[in-house]
Amino acid sequence: MSALLELQGLNSFYGPVQVHFELSLEVRQGQIVCLLGGNASGKSTTMKSILGLQRPRSGSIRFDGADITGLPTPRIIRRGIGSVPEARRLFPAMTVRENLLMGAYARSDKPGIAADEARVLALFPRLAERLAQRAGTMSGGEQQMLAMARALMGRPKLICMDEPTMGLSPLFVDRVLELIQAINREGVTVFMVEQNASLALAIAHHGYVLQAGRIALQGAAGDLLQDHRIRDAYLGGAATG
C-alpha cells in the first residue's frame, strides 16, 4: 500500500501565529484515516492546506504522486480530491439534484456523471426522494448526507471530511459513520478530521492525534483506542510535551 496523500514538514501561520510545527502525516490508498485533536489544535488548518484554501509557509503536500502545494483549490479538486466541508456548506437555494451535479462540476463525461448519480442515489436512498427539494430546507442529517453524496459525484480518489458528525443527532451520527465505511468499501480513500475520537477511531484504520500544531500520537486505530494518552490528548492536553 502506497501513500495517496503525504504531508511533509508543514509550517503554517495565521498572521504572526504559528499553527503547524513541522507537521507530517500520510494517508494510504484505500484506508480511512482520521485526524483527532481538540479546539485550536490545527485540524481545520490541515484540511484547508490540503484543499489549497490556506497556503503553508513551508513544507510540501503530495497527492497521487504529484506536488500540489500552493495550487489553486479548483485544480486540486480536479486532481481527484472531494471535499465535505465543515458545517456542510451546501448551496442552500439549489435543489438536491443541482447540488449533486455541482459535485460533478469538474467533470465533463456526461454518461459517467449519470451513472455516478444513480450509484450515489442507491447509496443515499433518502436523497432520491428529495431531488427537487431545496437543499437549505432539509434537516442537518440529510444535509450531511447530501454533502457526502455531492463530494462522491466528483468520483474522487480521496474524500476529505471536516467534522462530518458535528451537530448531528446520535441516530444520524451512526448512519453517517456507516456511510463513510460504505464509501470506503467502494474504493475511495477517506481522510477525516474529528473531535469525537472514539467514534472516529471505531471506523478508521489509522489515526493521528494533533496537539498544538504537532502530531502527538499516531498509530493503528485499534491501538489508539486502547491508549490511555488519547483521552488527555484529545481533551486538549493538560500535560505539556
Binding site: L51, L53, P72, T73, P74, I77, R78, S83, P85, R89, L90, F91, P92, A93, M94, E98, L101, M102, G103, Y105, A106, R150, G154
Partner: protein, 606 residues
Amino acid sequence: MSAWFDYTVNGFVIGNIYALLAVGLALIYGVANLVNFAHGSVYVVGAYIGWAAITHLGTPLPLTLLCVVVVCALVGVAIERIGLRALQGSSRIAPLLATIGIGLVLDQVVQLVWSPDPRAVPMQVPEWRIAIGGGTIGALDLLIAGIGCSSAAVLYGFLRFTKLGWAVRATAQDSDAAQQMGVDINRVNMAVFAIASVLSGISGLLVGMYYNQINPAMSFEATLKGIVALIIGGLGNVPGAIAGSLILGLTESYGIALFGTSYRNLFAFVLLVAMLLWRPNGLFAPRRAAAPEPMVGTFIARSLPVKLPRWVVPVVLLAAALLPLLNQPYLLQIGANSLMYAMLALSLTLVAGTVGQVSLGHAALLAIGGYASGLLALDAGWPVALAIPAAGLITAGLGTALVWPAFRLTGHYVSIATLGIGEIVSLVILNWTGLTRGAIGLGGIPPLELFGVDLGSVQGTYWLCLVVLVLLALLQLRLLSSHLGRTWRAIRDDSVAARSHGVGEDRYKALAFGYGGFAAGISGAITAHVYSYINHETFGASLSVLALTMVILGGMGNVLGAVLGATLLIALPEAFRALAEYRILIYGVVLLLLIRFRPQGLMGTV
C-alpha cells in the same frame, strides 16, 4: 385617461432600461459581494460606442448592438481582471473604492475621446406609433421592452441550464464551497462582469435612442438608479432587481405626471432611503431576514500612523503662515483652496476613517453650510463673521439629523444611504425655490469680513482659512486622544463588542457626524463667501468622491493625513496646468493606485 396610459408605457420602458442596469449589479453583488460603482460608466461607454458605430460606420441596428456587446464585454473583463482581481483578500472597502476609481477613469476617457458635449443618437427604428385605448406605443418602446424581456429570458436560461450559469449561482450562494467543487471563482467573476457590462452598455445605447441624446455625465445617475432598483429588489436578487426596476420606472413616471420633471430623481432617492431604513433586504425578503450586511470584520485597511520628526509640523505651519509674504496671489489662491478642501477632508476623515462610516454624500454638508451662511447674510442680514459659525452649527444639526436614520446601517449600506441623502439635499435645494431660489442659485453673497475687517483679499482669505483649519485640526486631535476618540475607534473596529460594553452607538455616531458637519459646514460657508455665487450643483457628488480620495491618500482617520491629502490633490494638478483636462483622470488613477499599493495612505490610518 390617455395621458395615464402614456405615463404607464413610459414608466415601463424606463423600468426596462433600469432593469438592464440593475440585473448586472445584482449578479456582481451576488458573486463578488460588491456594489459596482463603475456600472454607470460602462453604460456611458455602451452609449458612445453605439453612437460612434452609427455615425462613423453607419451600422444598422443589429450591428450596432453587436459592437456595443463586444466592446462592453471587453470593458467588463478588463474591470475585473485589471481593476479588481488583485484586491481579493484586502480590506472590504478596497474593491468598492476601486470601482469608484474605475468609474472616474472610464468617464474621463469617454470625455477625452468624444468631448463632454451632448451627442444626438440617430434613431434606428421606424418612427411609427400605434394607438391603443387612447394612448400610443412607439416602435422604440417595443424594441426596448423586447430587448429587456429577451435579455431576462437569455439570462434565466444561462443561469438555469448552462454549466457556467450553475457555477455563478453556486458562487453567489457559497463561494468557498463552490471552489471546493472545482469552480474557478476568477473565471466566474470575469464572466459575470462581462455579462453585467454588456447589459449595462445595451441599456446606455437604448437610453440614448429614447432621449435622443447622450453625454458622459449621465453615468453617475445611471449607477444611482441601478443601485436604487437593486436595493428595492434586494441586493444580489436577480428577479428582485427586475421587479425593483419596473417599480422604480413606474414610480418616476407617475411622479413626473403628478409633480413635474424636476421631482423625478427626488422620488428615486426618497424611495432608496426609505427602502434602506425599512426594508434593507428588499421587498421580497422576509422582514426578519439577517442583518443587512453580509460583510463582517474590518472595513478599512489598518496600519500604524507614520511618525514624523517633532520639528516637521511646526516648521510646515510656520512656512504656511509666512506664505502670503511672498506676494504671489496665484500661489495664495491655490493655498486658500487647499485649506478649504482640507477642512472638508478633516470632517470626512473623522466620519469615514475614525468611525468607519464611509460617506459618499459628504459634499451635501458643504452645500448646507454654504446655503446657510449665504442665506443668513443675504436674507437675514447677519454679519459674515456670525453667519459662518452659525452655518457650521446648522450643518452639524441638520447633517446629523439627516443621517440619523442611517446610523443602524453598516459597510456598503452606509455608503449607498449617504449617497442617496446627499442627492436628496441637492434636489431639495433645487426644488425649494422659496428658500433657496432654486435653479437660479444664490448670487451676490457678501465677501469674507471679520467685524469690519475686510478679508475678501486673497491674503485675508488665506489667513482666515489657515487659522480656522489649525483650530479645527487641534480640536479634532484633542477629541481623538480623548475617551470619545477611543469609543469611536471601538465602534469602527467591532461594533458588537462596543455595544456589549455599554456604548450607545447612535449617540457616538451622532457626535462624529455633528463635529464632521460643523467642520464641513464652515468649509462650505467660507467657500460660498469666497465664490459669491453658489447653486445646487456647486457641491456635487464628484466633490464627495474627491474628498474621499483625499482622505484615503492621507490615511483614513489621520488628521495630518487629511490636510496633506487635500493639499496634494488640489495643489499638484495646479503645478501641471498643462494637464488640466486630465485632472479628474489623474484623481481616478491616483485613487486606484493607492488602493492597490498603499491602502493605508501616505500617513497611515489611525
